[in-house]
Subunit: 353 residues, 2 copies
């Protein structure tokens, strides 16, 4: 029997999740795990994926008829994807020391059926296996299918990408510029430092949305009919989306991938979309999407990324932000997502015992 | 030489257009028209089309790079489409007494080149030629291509139509139910009387958005996964669009045709769109469109409507709201569009001299 600490979803948050006050979002708890039975495996989630999407899973508004996954339940560990180490195995499929993909949530240990796990393949060239949580995992697939299938980008397009220094956005920039070869790629990010990094990834230009001149900078970067944006890959929603409606070319496409600007103001979203008429007058096409609809085509993306890596077209450096810390630090690290505190994929590395 | 009164665009309105105060939107004026020259025709616009879209043409925000027509100019007659009578002709193409389509604007008379006019064909079955401004004109084409081409509706779809008692909406209802045979057609309109009329057109149900129970009524009409809306044909924007995001089925399609709820609050739109995340989680597709992109296929729609008429599937009765009045009444009649004062197509018949 193993004792396991767990971060339990205590109260579904209506605003920014909190660890304090009368209704903390998460509570640290401890439980005794049963020994693994035949076909089960005891794992330790070591590298935990931090995703803005998790905020949606714990919203009180999340409804099983509407959300693309089962909404999280209070009293249970906060759901999360992770790379986990096999500690003890009662399955022929895995042995102690193996690495597996496990959706175990914020728990120190978990006993899971072997069939709920997937093996983590070795990566060539000394690359970190944590890339499977980001560039080579769901995040990379999101960028790939969002850009190519949903956005249908071509080399003739001018593409704007928000959240460009984030996990998905930084992959989008590279796919648009280095895989497709788009005419112009404009990133939007939250600091000068992030913007310079995004330009280093291949963006022709990256604009700091926290600058007082942002609206004007965006206007100058997309100044008229031949230079309006053909594709806007939206990771943020809110005011930037609203502003982008005014910078889209006729028949432009908006890839609605994320809306982090709204995630913490579910109940009282002060910022709506005011420029809706642009959608009509410019005949825009907006498509919301969730990467799970594309998982059956994952190999297509992975092969493209392997090829990009070989050709030196996929920059991995700086695209991962790994925070090492004790198990107790997990929620604090996750909250960095909503503070703009990370560059690229935010991964929590839980300290070994 | 003919004297002609004209309603001049005096000030571009930032809110509801007004005829009074320091900055009236329109001013009545009088001008001397030159005699028609060779190839020109003197016409009298008699049946004037009243369209919500005209509000967009006179907005101070309307920009030639963004709007789908040249924005209206102050000091010139308010633009409008009309059926006009030929008073005097210096062209071999038209003779006195002919009826023509003329985009002459709010003017009592106009001298126009013959090539800027199109003949108005006779209608069989004693139908009024004013139908060419509505059901059999741009409005009908808007409904037809919006529903079939943009919305891609099929008989398996549950379709919701806002502004269902309006010119476009009332055609949408009939196309969805009587041409396509959709599984369920739900209208949204602004009074119980309008709703009963919409149901008479073929809607399975029509909901009054002014009722205090509207949100709940809409929820009940689209209660769950198998009964969420597959297609939403949006003529209104604003709060109803925002609410509809929460009632759409996975992979549902939104046809963004109009946003009358926003047209008079361009500068300070209090109501934004707060349920944007639904676009992502339900993988919605939204397509803005303008009928001018489909004019080259107009015959396809006209033939379909003729067939529907012959088969008794297109109800014309009650679908036209003709207001007869003196030339001076034109703006007042047009403003009915924004008061919900009309059912079906609103046409102004300018009294003969």
């Amino acid at each position: 029997m193993v004792k396991s600490r767990q971060w339990i979803l205590a109260n579904k948050p209506t605003a920014l999740p909190t660890l304090t006050g009368d209704t903390p979002t998460f509570k640290l708890s401890e439980t005794d795990l049963p020994d693994p039975k035949e076909g089960e495996v005891l794992v330790k989630p070591t590298y935990i994926s931090n995703d803005p999407a998790q905020r949606g899973w714990i919203s009180p508004e999340a409804h099983p008829d509407r959300l693309y996954v089962a909404p999280a339940k209070t009293g249970e560990p906060m759901p999360a994807r992770a790379l986990a180490e096999v500690i003890e195995s009662k399955s022929n499929d895995y042995k102690k020391g193996d690495w597996v993909f496990a959706s175990a949530g914020w728990t120190e240990y978990a006993v899971l059926p072997a069939k709920a796990l997937q093996p983590v393949p070795e990566l060539e060239g000394g690359l970190s296996k944590t890339l499977y949580l980001g560039a080579l995992g769901g995040t990379g697939l999101t960028a790939y299918f969002g850009m190519l299938d949903v956005g249908q980008v071509t080399k003739d397009d001018i593409v704007v990408i928000s959240g460009a220094a984030g996990a998905t956005g930084s992959m989008c920039v590279q796919i648009a510029k280095k895989l497709v070869g788009c005419k112009k790629v404009i990133g939007i990010a939250g600091s000068e430092e992030k913007c310079r990094w995004v330009e280093g990834l291949g963006a022709d230009l990256c604009l700091n949305y926290k600058s007082s001149s942002f609206a004007e900078d965006l206007r100058k970067a997309t100044p008229g009919p031949d230079e309006f944006a053909n594709v806007y890959y939206d990771n943020v929603g809110g005011e930037i989306l609203d502003l982008m409606f005014t910078r889209m070319a006729r028949h432009g496409r908006v890839v609605a991938c994320g809306a982090i600007a709204n995630y913490n103001s579910m109940s009282d979203r002060a910022t709506g979309l005011k420029n809706w008429f642009e959608v009509i007058q410019m005949r825009l096409q907006i498509r919301g999407f969730i990467v799970i609809d594309y998982l059956h085509r994952a190999n297509e993306a992975r092969e493209a990324f392997q090829k990009m890596l070989k050709e030196g077209k996929l920059q991995i450096e700086g695209g991962e932000h790994v925070v090492k810390g004790d198990f107790e630090e997990i929620p604090k690290t996750w909250l960095k997502l909503f503070e703009g505190g990370n560059q690229g994929k935010l991964v929590t590395e839980v300290a070994r015992l």
